[in-house]
Chain length 300, copies 4
Amino acid sequence: MNTFGEHWSFTSFGESHGVAIGGVLDGVPAGLRIDFAMIRSELERRSGKGVVGASARAKNEPDEVEWLSGVMDGVTLGTPIAFIIRNKDARPEDYAWMKDTYRVGHADKVYEQKYGIRDWRGGGRASARETAARVVAGCMAKQELAQKGITIQAALVQVGAETDPEKFADVIAAYQKEGDSIGGIVECRVKGLPVGVGEPIFDKLQAHLAFAIMSINACKGFEYGTGFGGVTQSGSAINAISGGIAGGISDGTELFFRCVFKPTPSTPKAGVKGRHDACVATRAVPVVEAMTALAIVNLI
Amino acid sequence: MNTFGEHWSFTSFGESHGVAIGGVLDGVPAGLRIDFAMIRSELERRSGKGVVGASARAKNEPDEVEWLSGVMDGVTLGTPIAFIIRNKDARPEDYAWMKDTYRVGHADKVYEQKYGIRDWRGGGRASARETAARVVAGCMAKQELAQKGITIQAALVQVGAETDPEKFADVIAAYQKEGDSIGGIVECRVKGLPVGVGEPIFDKLQAHLAFAIMSINACKGFEYGTGFGGVTQSGSAINAISGGIAGGISDGTELFFRCVFKPTPSTPKAGVKGRHDACVATRAVPVVEAMTALAIVNLI
Amino acid sequence: MNTFGEHWSFTSFGESHGVAIGGVLDGVPAGLRIDFAMIRSELERRSGKGVVGASARAKNEPDEVEWLSGVMDGVTLGTPIAFIIRNKDARPEDYAWMKDTYRVGHADKVYEQKYGIRDWRGGGRASARETAARVVAGCMAKQELAQKGITIQAALVQVGAETDPEKFADVIAAYQKEGDSIGGIVECRVKGLPVGVGEPIFDKLQAHLAFAIMSINACKGFEYGTGFGGVTQSGSAINAISGGIAGGISDGTELFFRCVFKPTPSTPKAGVKGRHDACVATRAVPVVEAMTALAIVNLI
Amino acid sequence: MNTFGEHWSFTSFGESHGVAIGGVLDGVPAGLRIDFAMIRSELERRSGKGVVGASARAKNEPDEVEWLSGVMDGVTLGTPIAFIIRNKDARPEDYAWMKDTYRVGHADKVYEQKYGIRDWRGGGRASARETAARVVAGCMAKQELAQKGITIQAALVQVGAETDPEKFADVIAAYQKEGDSIGGIVECRVKGLPVGVGEPIFDKLQAHLAFAIMSINACKGFEYGTGFGGVTQSGSAINAISGGIAGGISDGTELFFRCVFKPTPSTPKAGVKGRHDACVATRAVPVVEAMTALAIVNLI
């Protein structure tokens, strides 16, 4: 339900305008020295600080992590690591209008239908704010993987029809100016992955990656290797692009995949008040890395 | 590892050229009357009988299911349902050359690297033959869902660059004639799904569907709703295509998604002996339905 | 690892002398009104307040629960419920001597062997303090079960050789006076359990209860129905004591079981400093109820 | 439901008077050479051949294992190992009277209440016959453990009030002569277990052992170390009997535990037709070893 993974088991909790969001990461081996500076930096990256088109809340609210357990003198104890990020800039009053209204293109209505009750204060669990906890857990997974020589690097590779990174900021700024939003594609590459990660039948590496990535808000598609574009290639001509996976198992070459994020539908142009992003794909980049790290660390 | 799902838990077993393939389906409620004719028909559909470009083995070997447990007088007992399909047309000798050779684009090599041992008789677990067991289990899931008014229908919607279904047979025949193969895209639609299937954070409906579909051999991508094409749409203009899911939870509208299958690289043209398909996407259609049914029945 | 149950999934965290202990309870349905007074009362019962022979720390440190998520206006939201209890009376300096010493009969040594690192501050995770989080989670399970007419009641039924409850306080006081400790047996009865809880083979009701109860510190045995005493009865004469379970499934009669707690070996008499209990079985009573409630709510 | 363990995952299937019973063992590493002779010998031990008071069916029906997958030339492939034992001596007609009758002390009635349907042919899943599949899986676990220097040895240590093994046969024969049955206690010892098996909180070694053992039919209690008898010992005097576990984790000393089996209530004396055992504890011995092996192999 709110837990990802069986070996590095990450449980996420918290409403966006409640007391705090946070998580518990169980299964982290003892003796891992935590790189707190890297976690701060990744949270800032997720918050959209310095990013064109990122929403106001994200930029105003530095995410300060309180460590509750599992760490002594900066080193993991092998026990569950619990942490929280308090919601300092929560403004439930900004969302009072939502109490009796469902935003178009959001989960408000299905939540109320499913649970019969809803935390209307800004999206509750459905808020993008929840991804901050994923980033903290993902950072620890990245640190563990880095010790094994495995690095994960995601990047925005398309905004609308634009594929030249140098022009992304301009494109996004233009949509922001009009109170509108636009979609984007994120590509992720994993280097140093040893042969043998993933299982042959259901627990294929690509299946676990797709599961992890498709769990990110606004993600509408996942592809690896030749992806959707490969449909027009013939078997004899298909280039040897494995995407790093053969038969569900990593083959020792660089792993890469792509995923697409739709534009947020609740924009000023659509008449929706509040703080929103002109291109959510930009802030999704560290979240894609975090979920990739969690997926891989659970399979190794 | 070889088990899919926690509520309708399906465990698959069997090597393609061993004694038998089969499965155990645990969690099926007591009292479900099994539609054996539908299962035979779906297995025939998967076998490629009457389908242009399907491999010889598939067509020559009718899949006869032996029911070992869990069923009395055609009705489920609420106990685990075990079944096998014997490998009548197994020809390990056809694959003797593979004992010391790895086929390009197949999992042969990583299997040997991962396990240190490999059933070289025709791909072992990696064979497409394993999907017959998925189809049997998926049929039972479809029967359970049908009782709740939920129907699943997949279809081939693209072969190479061709999108007109009337021309698919010709396109595939042309590749087959040249000893080559081509990719394809399958679309799947689910009708009658009630509001509320799926969970908000990690266990989103789309994440479970992607996991199920990406576990099918040769599948290289999954998308739903606006998918990858939606990247160029703006938030204000984006049409209301939810794909049937909001915030990870079914919203009561028709669910639909698409997935892409690469062409098999082991073709006569590429110098690989054996029995192969000119377009594996054709035979993947019932497997897509089966995995969709298993994913949904596990979330309901 | 630190999670109990798949439906009402409870994750426990926290070291006894760290910042806080706490837990996350996922899977609680929306709309349950939490009885905070009952939780305070059960925590006080666990703390040993007013109980003869209970350790000083337990009595001095009222356990105040901070609710972090999943609850709005005292009602559950259907999202994960996170809570913490801060370690106000933590006195790591009392345990400084333990940094380089392993206490006899405790887990200190195996922890260090297993993890290579150890929070020496008072037992870390192995401390009985961790059970406070179980009691909080168990209270919510009890409240859910009470709504279904199911009640759970445990009691101390034996202390040393004494079986008359009126004399328990005297027996314990005598051991406390000598700086010693004594074992005890707790009996638990569950009323109102419907027919059909539990599964026939591995997931038998008694197996899940035994798993839950044997996970409590110092518990050395579990029996239900005729128990160990039944070994001398013949099949024809065996009275119809089912203990509430037939074939692994509740049969609609009252469920009852017994469990035994060994005396703590780290006593003043044994030369161990710190705050300890003369009969840990007394404070185990609410923990037995909590784990029983969690086991049952996960099977229903 | 019918699956035990997450790493060596064992799924059991089959009704006692259906086509076959069997199992799938997933997670067994590749390269393990199976000792088929040991499996035959253990099945014979379970069948009660040569054991006083064992039921007729058990002795008449040699359990022949058909291996369906996962094994090539006697060596495991790392893929799921499926096997079946056909029910040759099934006599559903012997049980026709049970179609409309519930046997006292058996699960017949709760099964029908729980599932609304019941395989009345001799107990269905509830039959002791199901344990043959456990023994096969347990043998493989024992072989894996033996490679690591871990051995498991169980023995009957009490029959009724008798604790002298030399007199067990006479005691059982006396009950059998009268068409009656008697309870028994089995003790199990595990040698060579390394330090560190088990987890500190819920997944304690003793909790997993209790779960495994209490899942055996007719088992009414589990204790380890000082057990129930330790209730009368004081903390200062308690001998250093750890039972091989400290804080839920193996401590490197010999592990031992005891479990009690009630007499079967369906005896000729009680007016129940069919084939039954005068002391089920005798045949439980190899099942206790099997479940112990499966529990431990899943924790290592």
